[in-house]
């Protein structure tokens, strides 16, 4: 069960003023992810709540496997009553943990240390009522039909918003874009993950083996669509479905997800052409610009392969290692010799800036 952590008031208020402090309720922050009347449209970056951050035990320095999760509730003029609490799968679904008022502000908060790599559901309890978090846009419907709020911690590689087939299809598309499924790239990637396992690196890196797409770009995109760029989920829902339909139309008797990469290459290339009818089987009334979706996909794929692994992609820092060790020496257009002792960290020593166990920096704690 996750433990309650004391976090000082300045920390909480630092996150609140920008998002929650305002005079008007204009729906300035709705890019299509909310219904017109949703009050979250007037909150800047409501996806930041609950706040997911690093955790460290100040007494013994432990805690790299945990995240600090801070729940914030707005209780202006005690509209929610004088007691607000939280129940959730990370602590107890029965016994609520109280939030505390932050100084004399309108904000009530409580922080927990929750393991990395997890997904949880929760609700607030106030005035005898149980309700989802009014600010966090992540919602999930439980098997009993009830609606709960959701959060996930860092290094989560579960698929949260994409269905299984959507995730597989997205993996095929991002595989086409990224350089890791070329013959050379695939060989390098296999070698890298094998070497990770052999050195007995931290358990989280072995997650790579469980993903069908080791670099995890699709996993990153799923997390991005679940939280920071929720407004783009609809683009993926529609376009992945249209891609599936197009592939079915082209090769009627086969599962699109098992088609060879040449079909995905052909699909990608046709999607750059926005003329209606350019892609046989694409329903332009549902999504008029496949090209726009490709632009989105390119940005997301790039970011997923090379962003910090805590965001769900670049698993085991493989993307960064690829940059370090799989780029050529421009003088020879060949890979530098492996045993070149002058540059043991290759062309990108990402580990020297980051904290253990991911990196080897002695000062920075993450």
């Amino acid at each position: 069960m996750s433990v309650v952590v004391n976090k000082d008031s300045v920390y909480v208020l630092n996150h609140c003023a920008r998002s929650l402090s305002r005079d008007n309720a204009d729906a300035r922050h709705n890019y299509g992810q909310f219904d017109a009347q949703d009050p979250r449209s007037s909150i800047a970056e409501c996806w930041r709540f609950p706040i997911i951050d690093s955790y460290r035990n100040p007494d013994d320095g432990s805690g790299q496997d945990l995240n600090l999760v801070t729940f914030v509730c707005v209780n202006r003029a005690a509209a929610l009553g004088d007691a607000v609490a939280v129940i959730g799968s990370f602590s107890s679904l029965i016994k609520p943990t109280p939030l505390q008022q932050v100084e004399d502000s309108d904000y009530w908060a409580v922080s927990f240390a929750v393991p990395k790599g997890q997904t949880h559901y929760y609700k607030f309890v106030a005035g005898g009522r149980v309700m989802p978090d009014p600010i966090n846009p992540q919602r999930v419907r439980r098997p009993d039909g009830s609606e709960w709020s959701r959060f996930f911690t860092e290094y989560c590689t579960d698929y949260l918003v994409l269905e299984g087939w959507e995730a597989r299809l997205l993996e095929r598309l991002t595989d086409h874009i990224l350089p890791f499924r070329t013959t050379e790239g695939q060989r390098w990637l296999d070698y890298y993950y094998q070497s990770l396992d052999k050195t007995g690196r931290e358990a989280q890196f072995s997650v790579a083996y469980r993903l069908d797409q080791p670099i995890g770009a699709a996993s990153f995109i799923d997390k991005l669509l679940a939280r920071r760029e929720q407004h783009r989920l609809i683009d993926y829902r529609i376009c992945l479905e249209l891609c599936y339909q197009v592939l079915q139309c082209w090769v009627p008797d086969k599962d699109p997800l098992t088609l060879p990469k040449e079909e995905y290459k052909a699909l990608y290339e046709l999607m750059t052409d926005d003329r209606p009818g350019a892609i046989a089987g694409w329903d332009y009334r549902r999504y008029s610009s496949p090209r726009f979706f490709l632009q989105l996909l390119r940005r997301h794929a790039f970011t997923g392969a090379f962003a910090h692994p805590k965001h769900g992609g670049n698993v085991g820092a493989a993307g960064w290692q690829f940059l370090a060790h799989n780029l050529t020496d421009p003088a020879t257009s060949r890979l530098p010799l492996q045993h070149a002792s002058k540059m043991p960290a290759g062309y990108f020593d990402w580990a020297r800036a980051l904290e253990p166990p991911l990196g080897r920096n002695r000062e920075y704690r993450g």
Binding site: K7, V10, L13, N14, C16, A17, R18, L20, S21, R22, D23, A27, R28, H29, N30, Y31, A44, D53, S54, P58, G61, R76, S105, D106, H176, I177, L178, P179, R181, T182, E184, R228, Y268, Q295, L296, R298, R299, F302, T303, F306, A307, H308, H311, L323, N326, L327, P330, A345, G346, Y347, F348, D349, R352, A353, N361, R362, E363, Y364, R365, G366
Partner: protein, 612 residues
Amino acid sequence: MASAAEFDIVIIGSGGGGAPIAHTLVGAGKSVLVIEKGPLFRTQSDDPMGLSDYKRDELISDGPEKVLTVPGLTNTGASFYTSHIEPDLNDEPHVYRDADGGDYATIEGYTCQCVGGGTQHYGGVSLRFAPLDFKLRSFNEGRRDLRQEVSADVVAEMRDWPLDYGAMEPWYCKAEKLVGINGTRQNQLKPASEDNYQTPLDPNPISKFAFDGMTALKMAPYRTPQAVITQDHAPSGRKVGAFADPNFVGGPKTGYVNRYGDPLDYKSSAWIALLRPIFHEPNLTLWPNTVVTHLEADGPKVTKLHLRDASGRGSTVSGKVVIVACSAIESVRLLMLSGESDPAFAQRLNGNGLLGRYFLTHCFGGASTIMPGRHDKSVTIDSDWATDFCASEKFIRDNGLWAGGAIYNNTSDQALPISLGRTHGATDLDTLWHAFNNDFGAVGDKFLDFLNTQFGRRLSVSFMANQLPQRDNRIELHDRVRDKWGRRVAYIIKRWHAHDEYLMMTLAAKCRDILAFGGDGGQGKYPVEGYGGVFMSENSLARIANHILGGARFGTNPADSVLDINCRAWNFDNLYVTDGAFMPTSGGANPTLTIQANAFRVGDHLATSGLV
């Protein structure tokens, strides 16, 4: 939070213009309140848990996509990307009028809402202005070797600063000492009575091309002064790690410097260097997460500041002296908003119509190209070599220019992979990701080709130069768009003069020459992909920067300036403006050190003025 409490000094803004004043006056025993709109983000050593609010994570700086929803703008519906300490444009846009007369929202590069302001985010380049920068009117009046577009009426718009370089010099020394800056003095055209620099660290290997180019062209180089400490810094009580030891993995060269707050104590932000050391003094009060909505005055005396706290609750506070230092556009805006509901205030402040006028940025641009070899650009601060060649009087006269600027190389640009993707082919913060997203052919093997061509290979050399002051370049209040508090937002109208464009091309050509000569061992034939100035937008491969200055210039004549020589609003007893808004010309260098030096100067004046 107290209501209507009385402080000796109330300072609005905790960045380069406000923190030095707080530092000086707290030391002089005065009661000082610093109000900061943004959060107090902490380094590891400030934090009770020992973790910083700043992270080495590209997605902190390169935030998620948002969409502009402010209605009725030219770029309504456009994507934008902010970090967590830049304002959300939909809540607090700055609106610019573009060349076609349409209004569009944008982000300046270094506006930063947090304790320490822009100094948390910047790369730390801490150049002095040149002596000539202080007297550009005297220098240019009657000149016969000026280009023709710098006609007499253009010269008539220039102003000397009310004090010269020599008068500012002691405060440059003070700022350099107290902030904590590394660099080298030799070959600078800016004389210094003290050398307070710390020793620079080894340059990134890619910078050798810039050094070689400068040397081949006899553009005497010096190590770029940057606000990053490399040795223990006694004035701020900071100690550096043992990174001289080859087994120690640490130090400031991480690549996460420009556009990132530092989780450690290396970057000399205004918080780390100037405010944190005095944070526990009983006479300093700091209110982060608090916005000042407007000022209230009674005749020549500012009597109250109206505030909203982190919950949005309103209150007021007063001080014997009020300092406005929340970055030029926001400071001018705050003063205009205060005048909106109080015509007497507006008249007193802006009777001569100069508030908001002579808004300035910098002539900025440079050259960039792929160099021989591949280098780990992440082992860097932000810049290694600079030259004042284009700040010399000879260069200025030889080229018919009105003023000059500094040149320096950049190392951290595109050092990290996401920054490569998003800035590839981008010319400003409004064209991020564009080139990569549309390079549809870069997939698989071709994506690898892209990485092989671009990663760890690009070197850019930039210039930072004076921009011509023009009366019609100005800050106003937008008539329609309002922020999340219902206040009118800033509206910036600005155009480049033809001479600005000529100056930028001239200096950009020098940057190109540095790369052309540096890349092939001094022959001058190395191919340079692109060079130009910010005015060129789509055609330029210039790096991104934008400094906001002017709008409340200081001077000796109340009919011709907004502030007096001590940055006091002429017709007020107790109102001062000490961010970059005070500058009548923008200087031939990054402005932060000059803003800090001037703020120290004003602080010393206030300490002995008898006002408090």
